[in-house]
Symmetry: C2
């Protein structure tokens, strides 16, 4: 019953008109991504999302995954076939290294298509999603032999990958992990221990599963400095590199979760499984962070993607459901009641979601483009600047877009009244699925700490200062433009709150680190509000320029952009002052109670 | 695995020290509620909630209700026995009219106990909860004969009740309803039609079910002016008043919902069922509103109650889960990591929930006491003033406490990291259960409209002006008190935002009603922030006076009250400015898009 339509036009507007995608022809893979190709890829990806992935979304939720008596894991009806089509379409390797069979197209394009597919079926897309993270880790830290052995099969989707970090007693604090690695003497290791919450941990859709596993080599130091990363394939590779003998790894059980039922979240038991060290001994966390950063952006994308599909359904419902009359007089007098979209409170809800979604999409694509620059540019300075943005935006995208994605799935569900609570209508699934994105790959509180405790001060605050300057410059350049002054005025005000809060941390968190922790979540959201506001200001600029140049039949679309930008600035941006007020009152009132008083 | 402990002490502090419960001895039923009795009732009710209701909460979620092949509905294991104990304990009639077998104790006490029981098992408590609403409607609008026939059995819990309003095509807009009533000529009617979302619609826990059904008498006007209310018992009463022949009403199916699985949400089919008019023809909405107002307060209570139990579990988990080290240095150096409650961001979450819960409890009990005064006082002026508060606070309690209750269940779930997403831990159930409270008995957008469109202007704004004056007077009286000036300063600021927003509506919503609709949800939350802030100021006053008078071993408890009050004022109250800013930018940016552009 739910519907989904890939927002291809809005994506094209962002890529072409806001980000000026064609300007990046100098980067590897971008010259192949001409505007025709980009549009064709988006159309194809959108069609696949709408027609193949989306119809399986409720099926996956209802059926879930099953661990059979023989320990094998069965995915929901149709998942295997859909993944087969996904594989054949070459979607997994869209932006992957051509040396290993990838198409080498821009990561920004991969991100755009990824939104469509995650909107359509988040649980299914997690199978290739986790594979992406595993590919990234092997690509950066694996040996040439490992790359040759694993990457081509993973990039073409014949094999999938997983990330095995969490254990029952340790999630955030990986220093506590106990999984053991004992050298076999031949360069390989025996891996033993239990991992939990392993997404896509086992399934029936690929010939082999390449587990990337954090473990402690016998005798290694305690804490995070004694952790190494291993490849543990489900089936060991035979002499010809094909999956052969079963390895000592198995799915012990599948977790019963609130949502993403279509993805098998496994307890994985390692019983002297053969594993191969990735990178250097005891430097596993470094390698892990390559996966993690990739995954954090992907999770932020999920939050955004669910808010998009939830919004589309809420908007449709609001147009169709008739109930009551408009406050300003009947709008559909020929009917017994008006569609509920006439009510300002319904529109407030829809506009709020829309304002975040369109800016969220821009922020994701802007950041993905920075990733392309960071990885593909020849200009060291440009690379560094892009990498700074990428690092800075990763916790913001993960934390803010998933918090908002969930809130907005809930708000969209609310539009349905009682029907929203009934599983059949599909809105409950969006809420239940979106919930996990706030938790995994580092709960959002950890993202906030990463931002305040790490990213803010990195290289003397280089990344954050560059961002402030970029936004300030934008405001200064467009201040006199009467079509943009409304937007720059509000953006400037938000930026001012962000800068003041940053200053407050510098003055108050050195001596008392709790002041940073106390304000970290507010700061992350404050930063998000400004970053999204900056996206809106850029979109408003692009829209008004395009309108002035003759809109080519897009004038309604572009005018709606300007209205939505106005809504964001008026209704959303004022939240920066609240966040700042909370930050500046510090930690005292939250640290005073004794633990047992809670 | 989840835990629950009824907050008896906090309830006693509110009743005795903040509200001065003993001052109301002049009201019927209050002299029987001496402080010993109140404490004993709370202890007993708390024990019943902890020991009988709570252990069945996860059972109810997992098993759900089942419609058997013969059309009968089976409730989860243990529900029937627990309800039997509830009935035997006389809990249903605690505050009910002694003329029909109730105990006539204060409604405020009933509310206090109701919190404990809804925290422990919301789905189970809905069976007696809906019965309360049906009792209220019959009590106010039923004939003497109807009261004699139904009330004693409902008040002692032998029979339960339901509210049948919604139909597939109409929820909020009851004017559209189609269920038909045809006179039989003997004073009874034949009721035919389909009702959906009927909570506790059918079950196996009571001898009879008394359905209160909205229907349109043949030939009645269209719209809301042609709706009447009927009693339709599941079993018609025989000559002796006992359940006899089966009536033409049955459960067609049970909805598959996101939560409250333990409650049977039924599609009810009426096929020429025998029904009896309650009150006057075509005045059914009036009678319905008696149920509805009762139910709205009860739903606000549910939102609060779930936030309380979710908070308790999150606090426990945060004390026990060890992960990482405090920013300010190890707090449990003997362990491998510190409990996560050392982290400011965890405390921020817990303090936020706590600050709302303690004030929410006070607001519920303060309002319930107003209900007692409104219904039991002999002083007309006092009655009217209390009734004004009751009417004003009903949409605020329903809308704000359920929005916050859900948000806070989510925040509590977040403390668990990945474990929060696994059903076994119980946090997902709190979130899923809390979600419905934002929807049923009038979705929260409707509550906001009720507040802005109806309650605000009623009797020339008498209720709202009286509330403003009461808060202003409190601030003025305590401004010079150095122990309270911090609180009154923040409260005054919040009140100022609320007054300014009210003024803005007066100036801008008359000519353009959309401006009222656009700001309604923000206004409801703004009002809630101030009302809860007023509760905090009163609690701070009571706590500091009690501390000054010698705290009787409660000094830690009372000092924690003052710290939590400070937290609320510093971290929560500033949100009033944001709400005001949104209200004062009006409807324009949300009304401009064409419906098809969404």
């Amino acid at each position: 019953m739910p519907v989904y339509k890939a927002p291809v036009d809005d994506t094209l507007f962002i890529l072409n008109d806001v980000l000026g995608f064609e300007r990046y022809n100098n980067l590897a893979g971008f010259s192949e991504a001409s505007s025709d190709i980009v549009e064709a890829v988006l159309q194809e990806g959108g069609k696949f999302a709408e027609e193949v992935l989306f119809p399986l979304n409720q099926v996956g939720d209802r059926e879930g995954c099953e661990r059979l008596a023989d320990g094998q894991v069965k995915t929901p009806t149709g998942f295997k076939q859909a993944f087969e089509q996904y594989r054949e379409g070459g979607w997994l390797g869209l932006a992957a290294d051509p040396e290993y069979g990838g198409q080498g197209l821009p990561y920004a394009l991969h991100t755009a298509v990824g939104e469509f597919m995650s909107s359509a079926n988040m649980a299914l897309m997690m199978y290739p999603g986790l594979t992406q993270g595993a590919i990234a880790a092997i690509q950066v830290h694996g040996s040439d032999e490992q790359k040759q052995a694993y990457l081509p099969k993973m990039i073409d989707g014949t094999w999938t990958g997983t990330m095995n970090l969490t254990e029952p007693h340790c999630g955030t604090d990986l220093g506590l992990l106990r999984t053991k690695a004992v050298p076999n003497g031949d360069g390989s290791y025996k891996i033993s221990g239990q991992k939990i919450f392993i997404s896509a941990g086992d399934h029936d859709m690929a010939e082999n599963i390449v587990h990337l596993v954090l473990a402690r080599i016998e005798g290694a130091p305690e804490g995070t400095k004694g952790i190494s990363l291993f490849i543990v394939p489900k089936f060991k590779l035979d002499g010809g590199g094909a999956p052969g003998e079963k390895n000592g790894v198995s799915c012990g059980s599948i977790e019963e979760k609130m949502g993403i039922h279509g993805n098998a979240t496994c307890v994985m038991n390692y019983d002297e499984a053969e594993g191969y060290l990735v990178g250097t001994e005891n430097r596993g966390l470094n390698a892990m962070f390559v996966m993690m950063n990739e995954a954090r952006l992907a999770v932020g994308l999920q939050g955004h993607a669910i808010a998009e599909v939830a919004y589309q359904n809420a908007a449709n419902y609001a147009r169709e459901r008739i109930q009551g009359r408009a406050l300003s007089g009947a709008k559909a007098p020929e009917k017994k009641a008006d569609p509920i979209i006439v009510h300002p409170d319904v529109r407030r809800t829809l506009m709020t979601i829309r304002a975040f979604n369109e800016a969220g999409r821009a922020l994701l694509l802007w950041t993905a483009l920075k990733s392309d620059i960071a990885h593909r540019s020849d200009d060291e300075k440009e690379k560094q600047a892009a990498d700074d943005v990428l690092g800075l935006m990763t916790p913001i995208i993960k934390g803010v877009l998933t918090d908002k994605g969930f809130d907005h799935a809930v708000a969209a569900q609310q539009m349905y009244g009682g029907h929203g609570y009934i599983e059949e209508w599909g809105m409950s699934q969006f809420v239940r699925d979106a919930r996990i994105a706030m938790i995994y790959e580092g709960a959002n509180g950890i993202q906030a700490l990463d931002l305040v405790g790490r990213k803010l001060g990195l290289n003397g605050g280089r990344a954050v200062m560059a961002f402030f300057k970029e936004v300030e410059d934008f405001c200064a350049e467009n201040r006199e433009n009467e079509k943009l002054s409304f937007f720059t005025k509000h953006l400037k005000k938000g930026l001012g709150d962000l800068q003041a809060s940053t200053m407050w941390f510098m003055q108050n968190a050195m001596a008392k680190p709790d002041n940073a922790g106390a304000g970290s979540t507010d700061y992350m959201h404050l930063f998000g509000l400004v970053a999204l506001g900056y996206m809106w200001a850029q979109m408003a600029k692009a829209a008004s320029e395009k309108l002035a140049a003759g809109a080519n039949g897009q004038s309604t679309y572009l005018e709606n952009k300007l209205i939505t930008a106005k809504f964001y600035m008026e209704k959303v941006m004022p939240e920066t002052a609240l966040r700042r007020a909370r930050i500046e009152t510090g930690a005292d009132s939250m640290m005073e109670l004794a633990a047992e008083a809670f």
